[in-house]
Symmetry: C2
Subunit: 323 residues, 2 copies
């Protein structure tokens, strides 16, 4: 309960420790989240996603300034994959956005996806809750890569930015990666590069092809161009416009009663994940501890039985009479 | 049982129908897989992964030729994300690798990842079994994107190729995406582009930093350069070298008794997935059908309860006395 109070007071060390404990599955961390839960739900959560090398970190860094200038506080969660070669998150918060380190209105944390276990870091939903209870007005979740993580991000965000860059060798990169459908705002980054107009045109054509039902209450994802940092004034203006567009989107959600849908989806995802952990994990642990799992794998390898038959037998034993 | 016989005989239509039925969750498809299971485990499964636009399809297409020239048959599974904007897999097998359509020794199928449900298409493990039972000597699984899918691929493959291209704006793209650790062979594709040497040097440096334990029985992932298709002779030679290196890797696995480990991991993943489906899904279906799920989500939105407490209550009811 003391931790809850501290986090409500915006205590950076308590928040950092709790996030780390969640990542490390320290018992008790979940109990703290239970206590925090009633105080969640105030922040505007912005997801930023796109291909590696698309310049998401630089955008995030610039957006922090814009949001601070509006008098709002910011929390940033940077989801980094870990590599066994280096033994940790590649881009830690130590080297990221260091210039905001002195600003108490900004809190930046990296979350590791823990390699193959991945998808969006399991702890990210709870980490958002923590920053929310700390009182951050805006929370930015930045993810690296273009796979499942990026599709998961929509479940945690109110506004999703998909960042694209011209000249990645294949202009339909975005469609191939299946991330078009999750964008509330498209950012064509490094727009001074060759191919920028072509990329914008292709995005436009794609949006033209989409049915009206793809745009909730008429929100057609705008395409925002951001040129690179060599022209600071132009870059700053593009960032301000982007920041305003993000605010517009949030206002659109509120005005058209769409925020409820997003919150409901987020709650459903969190509940599903919690049920998975509480139903499936104890069964798997028991199967491993009793040696039954190893025995079944041996039989599978000898082709004496198939995985579906094994699983059906297990379900009968663990659920029969309980369903 | 008739389907089993047909697939064992290499019947393309029966195999295609079964894959489609698995994707569509048609009852009975899983039963057929049970019958096929004892006949699986003969093919060499090659996973090809890397960023969008890295040229994986062109590589796959070229490798098919090399493998066919060695007198072996090939199955290809191309995992494509779907987009609600287009309503299906973007690059279907209709437009992909069409020039192999007349060759009965080549079978190409696309699997859709079904958007947000994603990860590597659920059906991919079973689709590999089907191609295996059809008698394909080599099965290539090609995935698009750089997220969870690509990390999952190692669970289904004996040999994993990670394809990188120079000049993607960020040379540590591979590390950021967390795919370095899964490579058995690195391919620096489009190696005539600027930055190719830099990329190779960085990969080399990364491998130098890795502990010896990262290389099973001394297999240090080789870095194979492939220049683009403008010089057909050079391209062909690079592909032949790559194809030989893939064979070397398989031989290495067999010679050092490492194949067993990979097969064991694959079996464990399949069993875990089957257990998840048979334990978790019936509980979730019951919660949805009874309206309990909706009720719980309502309470979560009103902050009357937290997801962990709901999940623990559910686990008590469904598993208590059964564990």
């Amino acid at each position: 309960m003391e931790t809850t109070k501290k986090i409500q007071g915006g205590d950076v060390r308590a928040a950092s420790r709790l996030i780390r404990n969640l990542e490390d599955h320290i018992p008790g961390a979940k109990t703290t989240i239970k206590h925090l839960f009633p105080f969640t739900g105030k922040a505007h959560v912005i997801g930023i996603t796109g291909s590696p090398g698309a310049g998401k970190s630089t955008l995030t860094d610039g957006l922090i300034d814009c949001i601070r200038k509006k008098g709002k506080t910011v929390g940033v969660l940077a989801v980094d994959p870990t590599s066994p070669f280096t033994g940790g998150a590649i881009l830690g918060d130590r080297i990221r956005m260091q210039r905001h380190a002195e600003d108490p209105g900004v809190f930046v944390r990296s979350l590791a996806t823990r390699g193959a276990l991945g998808g969006l870091a399991k702890a990210v939903g709870d980490a958002i809750h923590i920053l929310d209870v700390m009182g951050k007005d805006v929370i930015i979740v930045e993810t690296v890569g273009t796979g499942q993580q990026e599709v998961d991000i929509i479940n945690h965000s109110h506004t999703v930015l998909v960042v694209l860059v011209p000249g990645m060798g294949d202009e339909i990169q975005a469609i191939k990666a299946g991330i078009l459908e999750i964008a509330d705002i498209f950012v064509v980054n490094k727009a001074d590069r060759e191919g920028s107009s072509k990329l914008s045109r292709e995005l436009m054509a794609m949006l033209d092809m989409a049915p009206a039902s793809a745009f909730p209450a008429g929100w057609r994802p705008p395409i925002m161009k951001v040129e690179n940092a060599f022209e600071p004034a132009g870059f700053q203006k593009a960032l301000n416009d982007l920041s305003d567009k993000i605010d517009d989107h949030y206002k659109h959600l509120v005005d058209h009663d769409l925020l409820g849908n997003r919150l409901r989806r987020k709650a459903a995802v969190e509940l599903n994940e919690a049920i998975r952990a509480s139903i499936l994990e104890p069964v798997l642990l028991k199967l491993v501890a009793s040696g039954e799992m190893e025995g079944a794998i041996d039989k599978l390898l000898k082709k004496e039985i198939d995985p579906y038959t094994v699983a059906e037998d297990i379900a009968k034993r663990y659920l029969e009479g309980c369903l």
